[in-house]
Symmetry: C2
Subunit: 320 residues, 2 copies
DNA sequence: CGCTAGCACTTAAACGAATAAGTGACTAGG
DNA sequence: CCTAGTCACTTATTCGTTTAAGTGCTAGCG
């Protein structure tokens, strides 16, 4: 049987603006004006009430598709993420963005797209705006006044990275490494740049960048970590993610090195694994909810609103 | 400044079916018939070519919103997931579903919704179908012939759970525990039921269910794991996720218990953390791509197609 | 008393596609 | 020679909203 689509099911009649108009004995235009609170329209309170009551009585809700056709775009913003494997940071970002959009009568939909814009989805729903996460992480929309270095203005990931390194600096570490996965990553270069910037502004020495093997080859990991711990002055390693941190810690355990004495380790984005493993991982918890809200407003072309305070904090556990 | 939406930007004129019709000197109906290969229409090959050439020359692509209004639903299927924190399983599921839908001229969009259907998104885009992940995991759509127990037909999670426990059974374990997070979870009960079913069909003893504290309280975890290892005949523990497995392993390390000798541990869904931590975690890798494809076809009301073979396998590492 | 202005609405035209129901021209059958 | 049928298209309607442009009525002003 060839995979042909069967014809769409017979349409269950839906409640339209016309039904509301009839019920309230007005025209559809009046209904639209009332329900949308269109400014500059003179409609008596009595009529307004009639319309509103008819609408709820019939259970009317506007047909987003028809509206989108008329308005040229749907009340949706599309977020393109590289993959569905998110952490706490992405989760809170999406939650915040979604909540803020709901407030503004829009909704958030997520799509995966490796690179480029999700053209098919855009064709399909004509979103009000499309945001690529990787782009946005470096976007000036994140900027706002912030305590610390960098002339007071920081992008999101920059800020979290500063949080991460500041903790290390406060513990007295001067020579640090930054470990990131060896597999390709859209924002790896950005992250490295942020780490180097943060290190400079905190007065640390040059950062050793370590691309850690994240496959089954534990030997390679061990060799890399041994080299780091024994042949360099590095005393602490900040990581791209909790997973990478766990890799460093795993190699250290095999080498009988202890955190934080032999090497301090701090993760990023507070996953479950780091919390429950042994030794418990120090990490930075990112509350991207505020950023998500900002992202929502920026996507709709609104004023981003107030800057959110302390969007990231260090969760101190056993490895620093 | 009150947060009012600014008026939609002046619409950049888009290429419509009318433009194509004009360019090809035919009516819009003809264009539609040609581009959609509508059956039962007699249109000469010459005309068809003219239309198609005009369409590509103008860069025409149909306006999904207009089409959705006319057809009553958009060519989109909506997947509602409880959170953006997915693992390999979700990632491959989404990838497979998305790919299959693309084949069928639809696209996949993801939304988060704690419980219930994502009503706002549905209103907004009138999706062809909406799938709640949690529902779908238990759905009969997953069913197909499969080697092993359960009269040859298994749902997806059932299948993966069987893979997980079979490995333990093959290693000679009879008394096992199943550890799951203590925080609420939409599919926890299902998982437990599947584990019990699998244990029965494999001839194992009754399964001890352990809800593991997944917060900062390492003592509680340790106490629970000590009890399990010392006061029960349990020799192996299967877990809800790699994260839970790492928690068990962490507690074991603190108690100086060794895997697999004191207690064997097998995770679920092969995350990065389990692969790189020490000892390296045995786990089950789920390739949900095939399930995603099936889901796509089921969502569109098509025949699910052939059953996919071996959608999950055990990655044997150091803990079993 | 004629005219304008405001009020409280209504009419009608989009938005872009899909498709049922035509419409001439030509062919074939009786 | 008349009619029915096919061919190759076209015309016109529909989906459900939003919104510019009316419309009839009353009040107020000069």
């Amino acid at each position: 049987m060839p995979p042909t689509l069967r014809p769409p099911a017979a349409r269950p009649r839906r409640v339209t603006i016309r039904d509301v108009a009839t019920a309230a004995s007005v025209s559809t235009a009046t209904v639209s004006y009332v329900l949308n609170d269109t400014p500059g329209q003179t409609i008596t309170e009595a009529t307004r009430r009639r319309v509103r009551e008819a609408a709820v009585a019939l259970g009317y809700s506007p047909h987003g598709v028809a509206r989108a056709l008329r308005e040229g775009q749907s009340r949706i913003v599309l977020l393109a993420v590289p993959s569905m494997r998110g952490g706490r940071g992405l989760e809170s970002f999406v939650a915040g963005m979604s909540a803020e959009l709901r407030t503004l009568d829009h909704s958030l939909l997520v799509t995966t797209s490796e690179d480029g814009l999700p053209r098919e989805a855009i064709q399909a729903i004509a979103p009000r705006a499309t945001l690529r996460l990787a782009d946005f992480l470096a976007e000036s929309a994140w900027r706002g006044p912030v305590l610390g270095a960098f002339d007071g203005r920081l992008a999101g990931l920059e800020f979290h990275t500063l949080t991460q390194l500041r903790h290390l600096a406060e513990r007295g570490h001067r020579d640090i490494a930054f470990a990131l996965p060896d597999h390709p990553d859209p924002i790896a270069d950005q992250r490295v740049a942020h780490v180097e910037g943060a290190a400079t502004s905190l007065g640390l020495g040059p950062v050793r960048v370590l691309r850690l093997e994240m496959g089954e080859d534990a030997h390679a990991r061990r060799a890399a970590v041994r080299e780091l711990a024994e042949a360099t002055p590095v005393t602490a390693v900040a990581t791209y993610s909790d997973d990478v941190a766990l890799g460093v810690l795993g190699a250290m355990a095999a080498l009988r090195l202890r955190a934080p004495d032999d090497l301090a380790v701090i993760g990023f984005d507070d996953g479950e694994a780091g919390r429950v493993s042994q030794p418990a991982l120090t990490t930075v918890r990112i509350d991207a909810g505020g950023f998500g809200r900002r992202a929502a407003r920026v996507a709709l072309g609104l004023d981003p609103g107030e800057w959110v305070e302390s969007p990231s904090e260090v969760i101190v556990r056993a490895t620093t």
